[in-house]
């Protein structure tokens, strides 16, 4: 059902079991106990970064099926996404599975975009269930957007570190302990930031406007939620988001956390301002946040994925970097 200007509410969409498979840096982070599987090397025993990311995607998909006691034929649709050109990773993995798939791209906001598309289809009773499969990989990301991994350039503190993770989550109309209740679709917001080494701040305005619209559409405020978790604003983007709300006399600081800052230990690991990438938010959401919800620590969580909508060609044309943010609400039943 559409609510307000940009939102939906859902009556029958539930989050079931999920899987997160990560690379070495994530496994050395604070959440290592909570992941389903990890690889000790970035190549995940494959011949290229792209094959490695497919391996993560595939592993997470298979583990998700197993954890939910499902076979591929039980799945109505797979919504997938990653950061590679032509979202090649998921498309190639799904060659081997006999299931309808749709690929989505909203940069690092894809995970929640996938949840919204699935949520709408399930709630409309067009399908019974869906798997949202998302991945990102440090190697494929650097190769496509920045420099070769061995290049001796210097990254500033504002850089973010692409999370290497494959994630899969099963949503269905069958009841479970965690319900997907609301969604807000974001607008493309261009705050005229043009530094691809400062993406956290490029995305913060998009997160600000989406969260604000969510509050307006549902007539809520920060303290109605136990947690507002953003995707990959990391250190500088998070500060900017909090400041943007402060300018509006709204205080989100005490309920806000950012996935990019939760997945790594910035003091111990060389990850600059924190994690980013399509897999960053789902890797944290389906491990840490899901556990905290099931344990009863969190009852109502606003999940906001943020994406920076750029590519290397357009950046060379002296363009700025617009951002987009999509939000959903998860509630403990």
């Amino acid at each position: 059902m559409k609510v307000g200007k940009q939102s939906f509410d859902y009556k029958n969409v539930y989050l079931h079991n999920s899987a997160v498979v990560v690379g070495p840096t994530e496994n050395e982070g604070p959440l290592s106990e909570l992941f389903d599987f990890h690889y000790d090397k970035l190549d995940c025993k494959q011949k290229s970064w792209e094959q490695a990311e497919m391996q993560l995607y595939r592993n997470a998909f298979n583990i998700c099926l197993n954890k939910n006691n499902l076979e591929v034929k039980d799945i109505d649709i797979v919504i997938g996404g990653d950061l590679n050109n032509q979202i090649i990773i998921g498309n190639y993995v799904m060659r081997d599975y006999d299931v309808p798939t749709i690929g989505l791209f909203d940069a690092c906001a894809t995970s929640v975009a996938g949840m919204i598309v699935s949520g709408n289809m399930i709630d409309a009773k067009n399908i019974d269930n869906a798997i949202v499969a998302i991945s990102s990989h440090y190697g494929t990301s650097e190769k496509q957007y920045r420099y070769p991994v061995e290049y001796g350039g210097q990254k500033p503190e504002s850089s973010t570190f692409t999370v290497t993770a494959g994630t899969s989550a099963f949503f269905s109309k069958e009841k479970s302990k965690i319900k997907l209740t609301k969604a807000t679709v974001g607008r493309v917001i261009d705050a005229k930031i043009n530094d691809p080494l400062d993406l956290g701040r490029a995305m913060a305005p998009a997160a600000f406007y989406t969260i604000k619209q969510h509050f307006l559409d549902f007539n809520t405020s920060p303290n109605d939620y136990d947690l507002i978790i953003t995707g990959d604003l990391s250190y500088y983007g998070s500060k900017m988001l909090i400041d943007l709300f402060t300018e509006d006399n709204i205080d989100i600081a005490n309920v806000h956390k950012d996935a990019g800052m939760l997945i790594y230990d910035r003091d111990r690991q060389e990850v600059f301002s924190g994690g980013s990438g399509t897999g960053c938010l789902p890797a944290v959401l389906y491990s840490l946040i899901r556990k905290q919800m099931l344990d009863g620590e969190l009852k109502k969580v606003l999940v906001v994925a943020t994406g920076a909508l750029l590519n290397p060609i357009i950046m060379s044309q002296k363009e700025t970097i617009p951002g987009i943010a999509h939000a959903v609400v998860l509630e403990r039943m």
Partner: protein
């Protein structure tokens, strides 16, 4: 809304530690040049070679070291500390070529390594030859006219 965003944007601009970075670039760049100078001295004094030959050999050795350290996965770590200190010396040129070549290995020898080797380093050759053509021509004709 727009103005508010711009105001916060300007207020939250991350500052780069200019002094620290410049000091590190100075130290690292100076050290790399000093290593090259040691080689030049060795070839000139010990092997009694001509200045130009000694210089060429020294450059070749530095390029080799740049390629080797890149392959070993060490150059990028030094580069994060050194910034311009590893980009400006000719070792940076070797690093840009080696890192592009190694990264493209997965696309095979021809379509990967060979095609992509000059992806980052080509700029030096283009800028260099074009500049040399312009400056060289100017100097040549100036010399021919005013001799």
């Amino acid at each position: 809304m727009e103005q508010k965003v711009q105001k916060v944007k300007n207020a939250t601009e991350p500052k780069r530690p200019l002094l620290k970075n410049t000091f590190q670039a100075f130290m690292a760049g100076g050290a790399i040049c000093m290593v090259a100078q040691v080689f030049i001295e060795i070839f000139q004094e010990l092997f009694d070679l001509e200045k130009e030959l000694a210089n060429n050999i020294s450059v070749a050795i530095m390029v080799f070291l740049g390629a080797l350290l890149t392959g070993l996965g060490v150059y990028d770590k030094i580069g994060q500390y050194a910034g311009a200190g590893t980009i400006v010396p000719i070792t940076g040129f070797a690093n840009s070529m080696t890192s592009s070549a190694i990264e493209s290995k997965s696309e095979g020898l021809v379509q990967g390594v060979i095609v992509n080797m000059f992806k980052l380093a080509g700029s030096v050759i283009v800028t260099g030859v074009v500049s040399a053509f312009v400056v060289g021509s100017l100097m040549y004709f100036y010399g021919a006219l005013f001799g």
